[in-house]
């Protein structure tokens, strides 16, 4: 039977605030265990949590960037459960009234656009970290992460394939990075994703029983886990068996999902409004002020690059993958005026070097102005395109300007007619067979002569001038 996968995603994004959601402890990653805690985040009796204004601002910014309605009043609620990484015995989250509701993210799959709905975005505090002992049946608890602000972004069940899921996640992560409100680092856990997956018979409206997948730490894991789970559920349904509603963990080593807890332990969180926290009221002026301050978002930037710079959609997608890269491109175009040439150079030479050294564009030793200078030199015929690549490598290695390298190494194009003619005569004299072929009408041999000339000038011969001179000499 044909089945249609139905996928909804829950993303937890850690916010880039300096301090925690309800206290002034630092949020920095990697500090020694239990050095960033206080009575508030440890859940001591009698303490009073106070919301971090920046975290609320960030939540509103993401809501506006994804077309959500911002709640004028929203509530913090307690989600009650016991776990050793949760010192308060409850997580402070939002339940009935989240700060943002009903938005969307547009994704692009090989040119096909699709809108994925966002059900809600809410704020909550993170739990601590458990480190399981390898020998004894104990765990060590580090509460540094306890109370760090998170946004939970819940999508509608609009996703129909693992590829769509990854496209949605990439688009969401790009927006978070553009807004500068999260670092989106999946390895450090600042961008985590759970997936709800079910299958239904093609054409059926009702959703099938879903499972919730956890423990996927990269886009690749997510895609593989979804593929696996869809296959697993299809096999069950085909065999006339039932899908059990449960939480399953992805095991990357075994390339499979495994049930975590049964149905009988369905969670019972007993949510209720947190009496320690006053409802959050958001005045219109604040929303408007945040709206005004939003940067241009990835989708809008991509469209603008295509229309303003007339570059292909693919190029625009690559260049807008980060705000810093997009800014680099625009700055380089300002100096050289040739968008497609700048784009080609960035996507091939520049990105290859950065990738090899695992460097971010912000750490690139070649500034946009330096790249512009190089490309202008090529454009004006001062150096050949091939030499430009060598010059670029040197620029990247040493941080030296193109003009200096070209001058120091004598790489400028050879335009001295006398010198070129002398070399051409030499080449023609040494290759009588090819000359005869040319005269017999095999004009393709011209390429051979050009190759010889480039070899002797180490790629520096001016191509147009050389071509003219070659033809003249061969016609003699």
């Amino acid at each position: 039977m044909e089945y249609e996968p139905v996928i909804g995603l829950e993303v937890h994004a850690q916010l880039l605030t300096e301090t925690k959601l309800f206290c002034s402890c630092l949020t920095a990653f990697g500090a020694p265990p239990n050095t960033q805690t206080c009575p508030v985040c440890l859940g001591m009796p009698g303490v009073l949590p106070v919301a971090n204004k920046k975290a609320v601002r960030y939540a509103i910014a993401l809501g506006l960037a994804t077309g959500c309605t911002i709640s004028k009043t929203s509530l913090f609620a307690r989600k009650n459960y016991f776990y050793p990484d949760l010192p308060k015995g409850y997580q402070i989250s939002q339940y009935e009234v989240p700060i943002c509701r009903r938005g969307f993210i547009d994704i692009d799959l090989e040119g096909e656009k699709k809108r994925i709905g966002i059900t809600r975005i809410h704020m909550e505090d993170d739990a601590g970290k458990l480190i399981h002992d390898e020998e004894n049946p104990v765990s060590r608890v580090d509460f540094n992460r306890t109370g760090v602000p998170l946004l939970e972004i819940v999508s509608e069940p609009d996703i129909r394939s693992p590829e769509e899921a990854v496209a949605y996640l990439r688009a969401l992560r790009d927006i978070l990075l553009y807004l500068g409100i999260s670092d989106g680092n999946m390895e450090e856990g600042s961008f985590r994703c759970d997936a709800n997956v079910s299958l239904r018979a093609a054409g059926e409206e009702k959703f099938g029983t879903r499972t919730e997948l956890k423990n996927m730490n990269s886009f690749r894991h997510i895609q593989r886990a979804l593929f696996y789970e869809i296959r697993r559920q299809r096999a069950l349904l085909d065999a006339g068996e039932e899908v059990l509603q449960e939480t399953r963990l992805w095991d990357e080593a075994k390339q499979a999902t495994f049930g975590m807890r049964g149905k009988e332990e369905a969670q019972d969180y007993r949510y209720f409004p947190d009496p320690d926290l006053i409802p959050i009221t958001v005045p219109d002026e604040w929303i408007e002020e945040i709206r005004e301050s939003l940067p241009e978002l990835p989708a809008a930037k991509r469209e603008r690059f295509i229309s303003v710079y007339s570059i292909p959609e693919y190029d625009a997608g690559v260049l807008t993958s980060s705000r810093a890269l997009a800014d680099y491109f625009e700055d380089a175009v300002k100096g050289s005026g040739e968008p497609k040439k700048v784009s080609n150079f960035i996507m091939s030479e520049l990105m290859r070097e950065l990738k090899r050294d695992e460097r971010d564009i912000s750490e690139c030793p070649v500034t946009p102005a330096m790249l512009s200078e190089l490309l202008v030199m090529v454009d004006q015929g001062k150096i050949s395109g091939k030499i430009a690549k060598d010059v670029f490598e040197e620029m990247y290695r040493t941080g030296t300007k193109a003009s200096e390298i070209v001058e120091k190494k004598g790489l400028a194009v050879e335009r001295d007619e006398g010198a070129l003619i002398a070399l051409i005569e030499e080449i023609l004299a040494e290759n009588p067979d090819q000359v005869a072929q040319f005269k017999a009408g095999k004009t393709k041999v011209l390429g051979f002569f050009m190759g010889q000339l480039m070899k002797r000038t180490r790629g520096k011969a001016d191509p147009r001038l050389s071509n003219e001179l070659l033809r003249e000499k061969l016609a003699e």
Partner: protein, 94 residues
């Protein structure tokens, strides 16, 4: 409203409380009376009243994102029944 023994056991389990058979009986009765009181509240006509989210009507107090003092780890862990030099130690749960 009647509260069953099973419901008392469920709530006790969620709260990690050990209750005796006698206590289950007692609590079932007491919890039922709490819920009955809620029924009493339901009698108040509230159709035209906006929901009250909090007993205190205040503008949201916010904190600026400015770091303050944290506790020293020794202090943080001073009441821990089991610990090592920098972490709490708990029975393994997974």
């Amino acid at each position: 409203m009647r509260i069953t023994k099973e419901e008392v056991e469920h709530v006790a389990k969620l709260a990690r409380l050990k209750v005796t058979e006698d206590e289950k009986e007692t609590y079932a009765g007491q919890l039922a009376r709490v819920l009955e009181y809620m029924d009493k509240l339901k009698e108040v006509p509230t159709e035209d009243v906006a929901p009250t989210f909090h007993a205190v009507e205040l503008k949201t107090p916010f904190r600026e994102d400015v770091p303050g003092e944290s506790l020293a780890p020794e202090e943080t862990m001073s009441n821990a029944p089991e610990k090592d030099s920098d972490s709490f130690i708990v029975p393994r749960v997974i």
